[in-house]
Symmetry: D2
Subunit: 303 residues, 4 copies
Amino acid sequence: MGVYTDLIREARELHPDIAGVSETETAEGQCRISRIAVETEEAARALDKPVGVYVTLESAALIDGLEPDMEDTVKALTGELSRLLPEKPAAKLLVVGLGNRNVTPDALGPRTADGVFVTRHIRAHLPEVAPEGMREVAVFQPGVLGTTGVETVEIIRGLVDTVQPDALLCIDALAARRAERIASSIQLNNSGIRPGSGIGNTRDGLTQHALGIPVVAMGVPLVVYASTVVADVVSALAERSDAEGAAALEPKIREIVDERYGPMIVTPKEIDTLLHRASALLSHSINRALHAGYYDEIHALCN
Amino acid sequence: MGVYTDLIREARELHPDIAGVSETETAEGQCRISRIAVETEEAARALDKPVGVYVTLESAALIDGLEPDMEDTVKALTGELSRLLPEKPAAKLLVVGLGNRNVTPDALGPRTADGVFVTRHIRAHLPEVAPEGMREVAVFQPGVLGTTGVETVEIIRGLVDTVQPDALLCIDALAARRAERIASSIQLNNSGIRPGSGIGNTRDGLTQHALGIPVVAMGVPLVVYASTVVADVVSALAERSDAEGAAALEPKIREIVDERYGPMIVTPKEIDTLLHRASALLSHSINRALHAGYYDEIHALCN
Amino acid sequence: MGVYTDLIREARELHPDIAGVSETETAEGQCRISRIAVETEEAARALDKPVGVYVTLESAALIDGLEPDMEDTVKALTGELSRLLPEKPAAKLLVVGLGNRNVTPDALGPRTADGVFVTRHIRAHLPEVAPEGMREVAVFQPGVLGTTGVETVEIIRGLVDTVQPDALLCIDALAARRAERIASSIQLNNSGIRPGSGIGNTRDGLTQHALGIPVVAMGVPLVVYASTVVADVVSALAERSDAEGAAALEPKIREIVDERYGPMIVTPKEIDTLLHRASALLSHSINRALHAGYYDEIHALCN
Amino acid sequence: MGVYTDLIREARELHPDIAGVSETETAEGQCRISRIAVETEEAARALDKPVGVYVTLESAALIDGLEPDMEDTVKALTGELSRLLPEKPAAKLLVVGLGNRNVTPDALGPRTADGVFVTRHIRAHLPEVAPEGMREVAVFQPGVLGTTGVETVEIIRGLVDTVQPDALLCIDALAARRAERIASSIQLNNSGIRPGSGIGNTRDGLTQHALGIPVVAMGVPLVVYASTVVADVVSALAERSDAEGAAALEPKIREIVDERYGPMIVTPKEIDTLLHRASALLSHSINRALHAGYYDEIHALCN
């Protein structure tokens, strides 16, 4: 009934008993890290998430902004991102900030991309300042279908042809099932991404299979779909009161919500602050992970 | 149960039978115009809207963007605004764009203010180009409490002292009760405004009584509160199915929604397009209304 | 001595007597139109402008903003643009806004692109609303080398491969030789463009020869290079006073300016207003030219 | 001959021998600190800078972005700012970001203000989270005359009445005489500010005398006036070649420049990067200075 989530942990909550999924948990200070592997196509279908590894970092840092927690989260995120990227030293990277810059809850990709250090041109144009062993990073904000007229997937395939990176890193805002998850976690995966899925459109995906290079996706939940909100309320209702009464009302509720709220999103009023924190955390961690050996030099050049 | 609306027409729907309210309807082409007068304090309390005149222009123009409808709406809005403003020729005006520019559904005030012609300084600084009979207009975007640390009402009171206008025109995004009302109407009133009320905070108001000058408020519904969405669904449910069953569930639903979605807003994904159209329509109509006799000259100077 | 101009008319002033150039002048109301054809490679080298047709529309509209002049300019620009584009009905177009959105005098391309109607996706995604005979237009803002790490020319070649348009339309801010030309004209040409040339970097170009499709470039002068300013002053000095004295000082002046002001630009303080007018004029004229037969319908869909 | 500078050090270079000025120099790591006291009205007139203390921090940090230098500069700036502000513990502060956000080289004030922590409302609205001893800071971006119609000085006087701070801190972009000074220093003073002076308009000032509270001004040179560029070149010319020849040409040059480049500014093409670094450095140092005892807590709340 209209429940949609981009979060692997929520998908698992909805289907706790399926086979073909393994999970481990660790922590980095205040930041809890869960690694879920979707191992079979059957599990992938059940969860509506492709086969691959999904890392979730949970931390109150994005919501309450507390500095020591934020540092734990940066450290954890830097580590996890390094692990998911190709082992090849100095692999060339294409970073893509997905989403619509002009809609605050959909602007995580572009805003993060603003802060990612661009280095691909430095060796050619400013060889004297290029740090030794510098990784080449190109960064794009491809826009959305409505602002370009072209499917984001098509554009990114073209960029991959042009830039010839060793791996692709995509950042996008995610949709959660439960409002309390908004801005409470960061999700990374190596199974690719379907741009636009986060805002309700399902189009072809960006995967290692399709592009021939590893694809890492990274995001933070910033919205819930209106349809999901109502489904969530009905489901909570069933738990707290007359489950049968709630079940009987379900088809009617679905009809009303689809009619009235189908294409709408739910987001906190203070979404600008959450976006600011989330994009700063992501771009900082990306820069740390990509330029580990010479961070200070590249910070001076690119910041 | 958490239903909130800034729209007088929705307030009336919820309380159709109260006394002390009169209404007339007219049309300008495709644009329907309703004028509702809240005439008694009792009616004001029942509707949660201060005594005054509320004009609502309904038009599909903002949603479907069709040009002839848009022209009708501009014409109607220009006329209604002129009627609400002081009759004194060339009255000095302070225009204030309320809301948070960084949250798309709350940015109507600032974005409209961007397009309003600023003329207060022209006579003093560029007397040779000032059109004869030019009205002096000052424009501000006071920000929100979170970005300034000062209540918007305090700031505007200070600006009124500084600028000494004959009237105040405030623009703000509005909250509707029903999603279908989003971007479907423009509301004007002469009863003042409580900045922040549109995003769930009620603070002291800007009224003729408080400021000593006429206050006209203008807005377009661009959000629904999450709590209102669920209330709306429950109420529709009662109409379509077992009213008693729905009523019995109401207290539980209220509890769940307050817990989880209290401070959230619901808005269409294409809010950037709606905001663009609404702010262009408002600023254009304001400029037409304020500078009727010499529009072309002032357009050349200020656009 | 450091004089650089993107304007064909200024290039001609500097080399008035070369062969292989023809010019005609017409007018549309207050807007004067000059068409200069650079006909031989020799003329192209002398003028530092590739072989092709250059149309210059001169009008005070952008500077003084007067409405009737603005209408003449829109009409003239719409006509000239239509003439330069492929005659094939409904040819598919890729529109590219060049330059750096974050540097006001370099933001003409991105700001114009913001206002160009995007239609390429409409037939596939919303066939029921697509006007009959609708031209498919895709729009990009590729950023600059410093924000992407990739040469703009490379990106656009990739986009042309992806989008497969029948023609390319590029918009970019131009550099003038004389400050008085800033915002006083619009230049169109069919000889391609070298992105970055307008800000002092010469890189490979976007031409029909390189891309296999017609390329139309469009721009407005918004800056003068600092080095050009001083050269201009020295040249005016020679006219007004002791020509020999000025000539003798020239090498010294060149040395001083190169040392101190090499990479700097000169721009009016009110560049934000000029940018606003120029980008609105360009995007409006582009939309008029590209969607002549069904402008109202597409305006409703896309604005 | 059209030489204008906001920098006390450049003003002194032009008038090295006047009495009533004292200077001391210190350093904080790579950051050199000069303190110049303009002690008499006569010196103030000669230098065109009001009586007061001017602190200049010179550092390559803003230009080359090197991290250890940046830290030295933050430390020095934090210290100097603390020294200039009232000694009263937890004095209430009004921070004002002057200038035009839409013109990149004039956007230092607004962009710095974006990053200053706003705390004035916390004690009243969120008392449970307010750090003990928290200083109340209100922040405004008053716009410019062209966007409001009101002199910035009038607006700020009104804000001071409304907010009742113990001191005023103003941030504004500065004009230098020499291009090499752009982004190479930060200037602080306690003698007030004339908003708009940095872009060529002289209006009434914001001073302790006028407002009754201490006023600290803070800025970074980001432009040179076009007229100053030419004057600078002529003056360098006189040093390097025939001084008499240069002197003879001076009146002609002045005439030409005034005619053609009077109201123009000169700025580096990479002004977006310089602005980004300068505003981040200023806002970070302001936050450090204002909330010394509880920086981590307030960072979590406000960032």
